[in-house]
Symmetry: C2
Subunit: 422 residues, 2 copies
């Protein structure tokens, strides 16, 4: 009898898996296609800005536009990623459908006029809001809406970076610090895998990174990786703190005329561009207008960035996002990390390409408290050869990034000193 029941158990599991696999198809079609459209437009916008450098001077004006667009049509959509995470923790009013077009347009505007921002926020918000719409159409229960929202995050993240495994684990890991639950693992994995396939089918190609340095285990190098991991964690923490502080300060100064906040942000970015003497810290930063400029790709080569590139990008991004422009935090985190890793490698006598890759991944791991997803991402982006170094860097960064990451809605399950919090 007990064995009979156990067999039924497996039939229920099989039904559960089949159900979510079927749900994953439309989620992936919607999110994967939206991300493909976004990445295609983002590329056009970036090249257009390179060809018309004066667009930067319109950044303050663009900020006003974004501000009033959200004010007129945004409702609660402005909370972005945090709203989606809150809805997963505790279902409330739902994620509004308008979030997808709003964040798409405003991110493109931010990039067109030279704001320093990323992509994953946009992809995750498009994925989340479309997943919510689909969940409503399918008449899913509140419990299942939570799962489909996680699938939306996974699909958006997996498609935008071409890293489906990392996307799936990110959606589970980002919700709470210090704990991962397997409850939506397979739904998220399916959504993320399918969305990546859909996005690629639209012809999107992701940047290819190569680490040529030896992958052999070397204890001195391992020690350097651990110390660099501490620096990466602190940088991730600084990034999150700077963005929060800019926003807090801005909200304190501009109490009545909120639209002055993005105007000031835009003016500050223009000012910073003059001080830095380059436009390379604007926009996404994966590549640069001048092929030899400062960019993520060039951080993997000797002399590709300078000693303070990481801090410049951090400041540019904190001002852009803190003052109300739109886009993700992750690609700037990649930039900060790759540049910091490059610089550490130069002074520590370590391979530049390996440390650029470690920083790329580990600063992100620290700022979002997702060391496991980031370790998987390292395998998907750089191949499996250096996985041990990546795991060590990600978990060290995680330990040293403090308890407040870039997502305010992230909960605390287990503190980094090992104490359980719920």
């Amino acid at each position: 009898m007990k064995n009979l029941l156990r067999n039924f158990e497996q039939i229920f599991v099989a039904k559960h898996l089949l159900f979510w696999t079927l749900i994953a198809v439309p989620v992936a079609l919607a999110a994967g296609s939206a991300v493909a459209l976004f990445l295609w437009l983002l590329d056009l916008v970036t090249v257009f800005r390179w060809q018309h450098e004066w667009l930067l001077y319109l950044l303050p004006l663009a900020g006003v536009g974004i501000h009033f667009l959200y004010k007129a049509a945004g409702k609660n959509a402005e909370a972005g990623n945090n709203l989606i995470m809150d809805e997963i923790h505790q279902p409330g009013g739902g994620v509004p459908g308008r979030m997808a077009p709003l964040v798409l347009v405003t991110t493109l505007v931010t990039h067109l006029f030279g704001g320093s921002a990323g992509r994953e926020g946009t992809a995750v918000q498009m994925g989340g809001s479309m997943a919510q719409l689909l969940g409503r159409w399918f008449g899913l229960k509140p419990e299942d809406i939570r799962i489909i929202l996680m699938m939306g995050i996974a699909a958006g993240f997996g498609a935008v970076f071409g890293t489906p495994l990392a996307g799936a684990v990110f959606a589970l890991e980002v919700l709470a610090i210090g704990r991962i639950k397997y409850n939506a693992l397979l739904p998220c994995l399916m959504a993320s895998l399918f969305a990546d396939i859909v996005c690629s089918a639209w012809g999107i190609r992701h940047t290819h990174y190569v680490i040529q340095s030896s992958a052999a285990l070397d204890y001195l190098l391992l020690l350097k990786v651990i110390l660099a991991g501490v620096a990466f964690g602190l940088a991730g923490n600084l990034f999150a703190a700077a963005t929060h502080q800019v926003k807090k300060l801005g909200n304190r100064v501009f109490t009545t005329h909120k639209w002055l906040m993005p105007v000031t942000g835009g003016l500050l970015v223009i000012l910073l561009t003059f001080v830095a003497g380059t436009q390379d810290y604007l926009g996404l930063g994966v590549t640069s207008k001048d092929p030899g400029g400062i960019s993520i790709v060039n951080a993997f080569h000797a002399q590709g960035v300078n000693d303070w590139s990481w801090l410049w990008k951090l400041v540019f991004t904190a001002v852009t996002l803190g003052m109300g422009f739109k886009g993700g935090e992750v690609t700037p985190l990649f930039f900060v990390g790759a540049a910091l890793g490059h610089t550490i490698a130069v002074y520590a006598g370590a391979p530049v390409d390996l440390f650029a890759g470690l920083g790329f991944i580990a600063v992100f791991a620290g700022a979002t408290n997702t060391p496991l997803a980031c370790t998987l991402m390292s395998v998907e982006l750089f191949g499996p050869d250096h996985v041990l170094y990546f795991a060590v860097a990600c978990f060290t960064a995680y330990y040293f990034s403090g308890h407040s990451g870039i997502y305010a809605a992230q909960r605390m399950a287990v503190s980094k000193r090992g104490e359980e919090r719920n």
Copy 2:
């Protein structure tokens, strides 16, 4: 002020990490050395048994010895792995120090006289009981005793298989189904890494497995891997159920003269050996007396095992362990999995070495509900090339292995249909 506190936070984290790194050294020295001694003796014992086949006929007598040894000196040590897990969930009387020598001697006796058993139970129990002793000597708080016990598991597991990453994650993942907490991640990782180094320093070498088949992504092959994953999960479930049932039945039949239980077990193993017509299912099974015999290593080569080898090993082990002999379950699970994978590959037209490797890892993942540790283990044992197939096989097996694994003390956090249970 908030920033100042945040900086303090990182100092506390650094102190926490330093403290546990220092604790990890003696735990690793003790567990790593004990495991090295165990593996060295196990090898001697196995070769000795091959040279003296008649030892098998003394297996019933050996069972009586084991029975009375635990009865005389065992106290609660007989609960083995489950006792350690219970003490982590809910600290009680502690893990007795006598567990280490008892399980060492009785496992060697089991192997010397031809019982079919593994090693990880022994390694984990030695690690756990020595960790408890050290924790008491250091005057650790109950909360920290839980962590040092997890370190003992990690150290034992990591050293016995030469897979430190898998050891650390196994210790965290095995405690509850469907959830992993990072609370003791770094302590476990340090203990496991150091223990592996200590064990290697004693001259212990682990079996080397190679998968030569192509690692290229092939959708038809992926589909076969998923279907094989279902079979691996069901096999893991069958293994756990068979061992439990044999024990339950034995305890029901032998109510007064408990010592008759291992006697019967020994006689059954002798009988099974005659029916099977080979001694290859006795002992550890990593290699065989005749280099061309049925063994884990030969499951990776064409014609290395036959169609029912997996079931034979399952039955031999369920009888041996269910009837009261000592040793681990994991190496027999490797055997069952590698042989089943081999057979599936033959009939499905898939590469034998890859599927033997997949079964090796995935049946274990299913029976212990530790898909993440097993995915890491696959990288540590077989290299990173096939990690995607391993991850798919492990998680599929996990979904299809039901909710009762080989460890009765494992708790349920999230069911495999996604429901939260606590």
